[in-house]
């Protein structure tokens, strides 16, 4: 199993009392609540944490893209990935992912990812996402064109990486007279592509397609949903006539390891609940603008709506397997169990979440790296053998 360290880089110094006056920390939260001096300290702390992840033996360091939000301070994951590129030497750097439809010129994604792949000598994992609903409100990109822009931008990027240039590219949304990428990617034919998602059939069919076989990552979901969507991937792949390798399946989940189950719970509770109930909260209309998901999916969203607006406490999140929290022994047993049942080959651990401070984050990372990761990898090797990153 590949075990990676995933960081959202939340603006943890948010004045939570002030934030209560707003419906959401996305898109419309006034940016006077962002203090650049605190931001400076947080960016450097978080980058230190990611770099420390390499020392602790994580296989990869993951960054992502979100805009105009206290949820995460990475409007450009390219910047954070580039900062890590020269300060690390072994770990893969995973951009999970670049929000393709938000770019007017998706060729810039091909260029920027290729640069990082060259600088790191092929340590890049590329990730492509649609961007979440709030970002369509922010950027003005028409959500009813989101899926086709994603597909066309993806095709352009992969062709730019793999086909000899110069060539012309024309699709409904993008037109380029000269596609001729300098630099070409270091990894051949191109960096691995991972697709993070909250779960949708359209995305799974795209990732599992035999021409892609991209690694699909189910992010922050109850374990039942993780199992359902990863099973959907397997079924879709079977439908295409092949059995997917565990390397094509991944799960991103917040994890907290304490000395004991009780101390873990006590230490993590408040920080997890800020993550889940303040940073993730947004109105339904912001999360799902028209056309962002298929009409069919929109119909069944009443349940999602209820879940989105209700407060989720730490205990319930743990019971649902949305949050893995406990002593090293408990965390190891749970993760081994899920790996056995669900069969993922990549685990993306979010070891900082919400307002979790630096000291607890470090201790969490150390306990996980020393007391969970080696045994987990050993158990996974017994189940699935060695799993490459591809």
């Amino acid at each position: 199993m590949n075990v990676l360290l995933f960081h959202l880089m939340p603006y943890a110094d948010l004045d939570l009392n002030e934030a209560k006056n707003y419906q959401t920390v996305w898109a419309t939260l006034p940016n006077r609540l962002y203090d650049p001096k605190k931001g400076h300290a947080l960016y450097n702390r978080y980058l230190d944490e990611l770099e420390y992840g390499e020392q602790l033996g994580f296989d990869g360091l993951c960054v992502n893209e979100h805009h105009q939000t206290a949820y995460g301070m990475m409007p450009s994951p390219i910047v954070t990935a580039a900062a890590l590129a020269r300060r690390t030497s072994k770990a893969r750097i995973a951009i999970l992912g670049s929000a393709l439809p938000l770019r007017t010129h998706p060729l810039t994604v091909a260029e920027e990812h290729a640069m990082i792949d060259n600088i790191t000598g092929g340590r890049l994992i590329s990730g492509f996402v649609r961007g979440i609903g709030a970002e369509y409100h922010i950027f003005g990109v028409n959500p009813t064109f989101s899926l086709e822009r994603f597909q066309q931008a993806h095709d352009l990027i992969v062709r730019a990486w793999t086909e000899p240039g110069p060539f012309e590219y024309h699709s409904k949304h993008y037109h380029f007279e000269y596609v001729n990428l300098w630099p070409r990617p270091y990894q051949q034919p191109h960096p691995p592509v991972w697709i993070p998602s909250q779960g949708s059939r359209e995305t799974i069919e795209f990732a599992a397609h035999p021409a892609h076989k991209y690694t699909y990552l189910q992010t922050f979901s109850p374990i039942k949903a993780v199992a359902r969507y990863l099973q959907m991937y397997k079924d879709v792949a079977q439908g295409f006539g092949y059995a997917p390798s565990p390397r094509q399946l991944g799960w991103a989940v917040p994890v907290y390891v304490g000395d004991t189950d009780q101390s873990a719970f006590d230490e993590a509770k408040v920080h997890f609940e800020v993550f889940r109930n303040t940073y993730l909260k947004m109105p339904f209309e912001m999360l799902l603008p028209p056309g962002y998901t298929s009409r069919e999916s929109m119909k069944g969203m009443a349940a999602a709506k209820a879940q989105l607006t209700s407060y989720l406490d730490t205990k319930s999140a743990m019971d649902m397997g949305m949050f893995i929290c406990g002593s090293a022994k408990t965390v190891l047993e749970q993760l081994k169990g899920h790996a056995r049942e669900v069969g993922f080959g990549n685990l993306l651990t979010m070891l900082q979440f919400g307002t979790l401070p630096a000291d607890l984050t470090r201790r969490n990372m150390e306990r996980f790296a020393h007391d969970v990761m080696p045994e987990l990898k050993k158990a996974s090797r017994a189940m699935h053998g060695d799993i490459s990153i591809a």
Binding site: G140, N142, T144, F145, P283, E285, K299
Partner: protein, 260 residues
Amino acid sequence: MTTAFTSEIRDVGGCRITLKRGGAGRPLLYLHGASGAAQIQPFMQELAREFDVLVPEHPGFGASDEPAWLDSIHDLAYFYLDLLDQLDLREVTVIGSSIGGWLALEIAVRNATRMKALCVIGPSGIHVPGLGKGDIFLWSPEERVRNLFVDQAIAERLLAQTPTPEEQEIAVKNQFTVARLAWEPRLFDPNLHKWLHRIKLPTQIVWGDSDRILPAGYAAEYRKLIPQARVDIIAQCGHLPQTEKPQEFLRLFRDFVAQA
């Protein structure tokens, strides 16, 4: 006495739309706004006393098809030019509300030869810096209804109705098409303002003084761009004067038609 409206499915170049039609007299085409035109409303009944009233559901709305070619308001404008040709309508009076008003203007700048007069009610279509619009895509379903009217009793009545699953499905479909047409740029066409002077028709601009979607200040801006237009502002009224103040709207419209 109410006029019976017929309803037919009409095929225009492979795109099927529903078209309701009632009354007698000169033709009047009503172009609906964001919430569609599933029902014949009282003001349409009133208009049918004097006009041959045609109420289509635009492609992408209600029971009409969702053609693959529908990418922008321009596509709809050309579609309606095809429809006018197919129906061979002449001297049509066009009323357009909200996005339907924008659509009427897009049609008229392209080809107004089949039109006699134009009445636009709270039309979107242009952008005026400093005149903030309501964010119809960020409002909750309840806010969307409430913000349409000054008279909250109308909103209460609408909110008290439980939509059937079919109505819900159509609301989602309409909302999708509104986003497709108007998400970005938000509710306007950056080129339309350059060509509105081409509209030489008798034109009426009607606005509710308390419109929360497009503030009434837009009426004066439109007047600058269509100099012959008359502007009628209706007091204590929101985005849909024809629904909220139908008598007042009809009085002003009849007055406009009499002069035109």
